[in-house]
Symmetry: C2
Subunit: 296 residues, 2 copies
């Protein structure tokens, strides 16, 4: 499949976008897509997926496409933004046989999370180059709460996580996780300005909680015994495996998060200081700011 043919097929497949998604004024097929942006500030992010790095060679095309889109949608969730539109790119090895299937899967997963794919680019890499996908995602900020940043944690706040943590890679969950967009909106709806800070757990609870602590100028103390763990996950896995794509939220002590089907568990507190520590059963506090899957 030649690239122009592929891009044309994507454009044809997306011909209904301006009808189905009123925000899309011009869909794929021109030099740019054109979007109505009159419904408030836009949260934007881009993430990439590299073969041999974020997925193993031989992973089904549908799951590669799913993860590429889901990672960016998860970044929107971390802001409590609602998906608006996306752009994708792919570098494919010469003679790659599944280009059309991949393009269809990217578009389908985008739609499944309210993220119409309004454009993109496909290139053939040199021989031996890994598959590289990117997904740019734009979302509208929560109407009343606004974008939820990492920097809003305050001393005395309580720290929660959605779902359960650990063993995302060995269990295959890193390919099938559900980005928490609905949960994030429910949290922002219910908590409003008491939802002080949020992040999605991509690199590991220790590192990501450390990022919230650093951005907010505080320390986060996690309780080891409180961490919700997936089957087979120990403390190290829950703290450091990464790729959970659950939300960590920091909430005013005077408020309580709503009940969500995925579960919302209190895991710690915000105190004065720096970094992220874990308090173990023996009463020790162990630095956790480096516990995670540091991208190198």
């Amino acid at each position: 499949v030649r690239e122009t043919d592929l891009l044309r097929r994507i454009a044809e497949r997306s011909a209904d976008l301006p009808t189905s998604f009123p925000r899309v004024l011009v869909g794929p097929g021109d030099d740019c897509a054109v979007l109505d942006a009159s419904d408030g500030p836009l949260a934007v992010t881009v993430d990439q997926l590299v073969e041999g790095r974020h997925f193993e060679p031989g992973t089904p095309v549908d799951l590669i496409a799913r993860k590429a889109v889901a990672r960016s949608v998860s970044d929107l969730a971390a802001m409590a933004a609602w998906p608006a539109w996306g752009l994708v790119t792919a570098v494919l090895p010469p003679g790659y046989a599944h280009a059309d299937e991949l393009a269809a899967a990217l578009a389908a997963w985008g739609r499944s999370w309210s993220l119409p794919i309004v454009g993109g680019d496909v290139a053939t890499g040199p021989a031996g180059s890994p598959i590289v996908l990117t997904c740019t995602a734009a979302g509208t900020a929560h109407a009343s709460r606004g974008p939820v940043l990492r920097s809003g944690a305050q001393i005395g706040d309580r720290v929660y996580v959605t779902g359960r943590l650990g063993r995302s890679f060995p269990s295959g969950r890193h390919l099938r996780f559900e980005p928490r967009i609905v949960e994030a909106r429910a949290l922002a709806d219910a908590l409003g300005l008491a939802l002080h800070a949020m992040i999605d757990l991509s690199d590991g609870l220790g590192i990501d909680a450390g990022r919230v602590a650093e951005a907010s100028g505080v320390r986060i103390e996690l309780e080891a015994s409180s961490l919700p763990k997936n089957d087979g996950a120990d403390l190290d896995a829950a703290l450091g495996d990464g790729e959970d794509y659950e939300l960590l939220l920091v909430v005013d002590a005077g408020a309580r998060p709503p009940i969500l089907p995925c579960g919302v568990t209190e895991v710690g507190r915000v105190v004065a200081g720096r970094g992220c520590v874990v308090r173990t059963g023996t009463g020790d506090s162990v630095d956790a700011s480096n516990r995670g899957w540091e991208h190198r």
Copy 2:
């Protein structure tokens, strides 16, 4: 340089963005950037640059970064949109020594074209993977003309190109071209709704004029003797070399484009039919719809 360190440096370098660019409400460093989008429809595009494909191994880092940003900005120009913000990604080989320089260059070239880089992602590829850069660019549609699409050409219109064509690769111009954002705005300002259609010439005049013809349901007839050529370029080069990143514009016959420093040359007409043909000195019409650098 670890990726998180690199992303942090990019964020630090961009700390002034919300001050210098009022549209940037939250710059790099959080899960998403946040943009004010209240000034009208947004034109968005993404392009990628692959080592061994769009640039030779060993090309200076500054020129790689320049081309990655310039290609996307050129897509905004093709719509007569004005740059608003951008996102970049990079896949780098293991141990790549110039990551920080590359990030700085991407940010600097973005700013030089009014495209503040508000976020991005860096990943290390497996051994032997090519450098892959992407640039997502968003721009605001021209306030009075609106976005200029490929599909507006009408029978009887005149066809023009900016600048000169051909030999972009051998001359090195593909690394140093100036995206025509100022020219596009001037054209939209002066011509208004008489500016019927526009495209940037990335793949070659023949192919790209063919795209306008196809999108508009018309035929474009080019005059071989009229094509403005770069030094050393013959007709084949002007028609098919690609990577010129000049604008092709289609204008109502009752209007004339303004004079621009880069030159605006009438090269043909819009007639009934399909595709793009070139009329040679002998009076023959030769199909040109496939004359260009077809991406495979």
